[in-house]
Symmetry: C2
């Protein structure tokens, strides 16, 4: 999916919601645990209940890997299900990979060839040759970590470079934006750092930003939209726990759908206020 197509989906659904499929075997409703693949059963019902209100899904790889190869099989089934039933969904592998060139090539093979994801999150520490292999695929995306939503972001991401005066996350943005274009790169910016979105928009005015941290982590959707929205929306705001665990009972999918709809309605207002729909 390219930049324009993603924007069109946002306009059509009046939503820039990404649902995080952080599917934890310990948290899914009891009645699903007897099915042959509880993780996939859960995802399938969540997707069916929320696809109308969401433009993207973001499985977090850790949750699948923690179950070994069976977890990977559940992930593959989830990806295939979305690809068959909801062709217009943007699929993000939240994998935070990144390695030397020949290894990143293989991660690209894993997530873009073997699995048909649209995008993968990548950590910037190892620099250009760890990121570029993901950008050789047409209409596939790298989503590079810039400013993350967690407390540990303050350990290194704000260190200020002696020469340029830029903080590390700014150096990451400024250096990496020349590695590709806003047709192949996005950035992760945590909603808990919404006040930084204005500065970030000056560096990357046209890139999409993937924004986690709204909801459970405390970020505000209004603040994110106010500071981060551009003329093609330019935002994918992720919510995980607030949607997929809205209920732990047999009505979990229905409640997830309601929670997603509520976020979509807030987003519709924000899109409308910005005259994007």
């Amino acid at each position: 999916m390219n930049h324009q197509q993603l924007f069109e989906q946002i306009q059509k659904k009046r939503s820039f919601l990404c649902v995080g499929l952080d599917t934890d075997i310990l948290k899914i409703p009891k009645h699903l645990k007897d099915t042959s693949d509880p993780i996939f059963s859960f995802n399938k019902e969540i997707i069916d209940a929320t696809a109308e209100f969401s433009v993207a899904y973001k499985p977090n790889l850790a949750f699948y890997e923690s179950l070994g190869w069976q977890g990977w099989e559940s992930l593959e089934k989830t990806v295939h299900y979305v690809r068959e039933k909801y062709q217009d969904i943007f699929l993000i592998a939240d994998a935070k990979r990144g390695d030397i060139g020949n290894t990143s090539n293989l991660y690209a093979r894993a997530f873009f060839d073997k699995l048909d994801f649209d995008a993968i999150t990548v950590a910037p520490y190892m620099g250009e040759d760890s990121v570029k292999p993901f950008m050789t695929y047409l209409d596939k995306w790298v989503i590079l970590l810039a400013l993350t939503s967690n407390k540990g972001a303050f350990d290194f991401q704000f260190l200020k470079d002696e020469k340029s005066g830029d903080q590390l996350f700014e150096s990451v943005l400024k250096t990496s934006k020349d590695w590709g274009s806003n047709e192949s790169m996005m950035y992760v910016v945590g909603a808990t750092k919404a006040e930084k979105l204005k500065e970030i928009r000056e560096i990357v005015p046209n890139h999409f930003l993937l924004v986690p941290g709204v909801g459970a982590q405390g970020g505000s959707l209004q603040e994110v939209a106010k500071n981060g929205m551009n003329n093609k929306c330019g935002l994918l705001v992720n919510s995980s726990r607030g949607i997929i665990y809205a209920s732990a009972e047999t009505d979990f999918a229905e409640k997830a759908g309601e929670a997603a709809k509520k976020v979509q309605q807030e987003m519709e207002i924000l899109l409308s206020e910005s005259k994007l729909i």
Copy 2:
């Protein structure tokens, strides 16, 4: 495995070699491709031929993930094989993970509970809470990226902090060494940056360093030992392609054994010169 036990293995085998299991389905000998699990068949023979000369193995996750859930199954079989047959081997998941706290917890579950690795490589960009969950397991290790062997290392790892004057990799070392001890943390330092090992040893005199980049990437074992060895050796030097692809024919395991033995013999001299054996 703890620090002292690892040092004892190094003394016993007169080797600080880590064999990188970067097992690429496109590169393994033809005659293995008809077996039910070519990746595991290859690893098994490589391990049997090299275990005498190696203290550690390091599967690189990208190679397994590129094959989907079947790749993960091959990885699991490899780990179980080592655990059953070679109890004294130190097993490193070269995964370069790192995410917010609750997600890193799940990665720890994946690699330390579900799989029985001794250590996992982790990227430092997201800071303390992305690293600490891996250190709650007794005698398990985080191996944090400090200075990597690739060209992209120059993009961010050498940025100099305005306040402290430290380059980013130095900040990573200085800040992170207080998150754990030399009983729970190691660092990745590329052999191609061997001249930096002296400075690094001043910051972390007692930690083990995992050193990739000898061989195919051009690093020198002698330089690494000269600048990086401490009184408990403190080095695990990785070689992947130079050993596992020493031959692409039916004699691949034999040739891998010979290549590993050659490295071991060089290491024995270096250990002996430093009076560690």
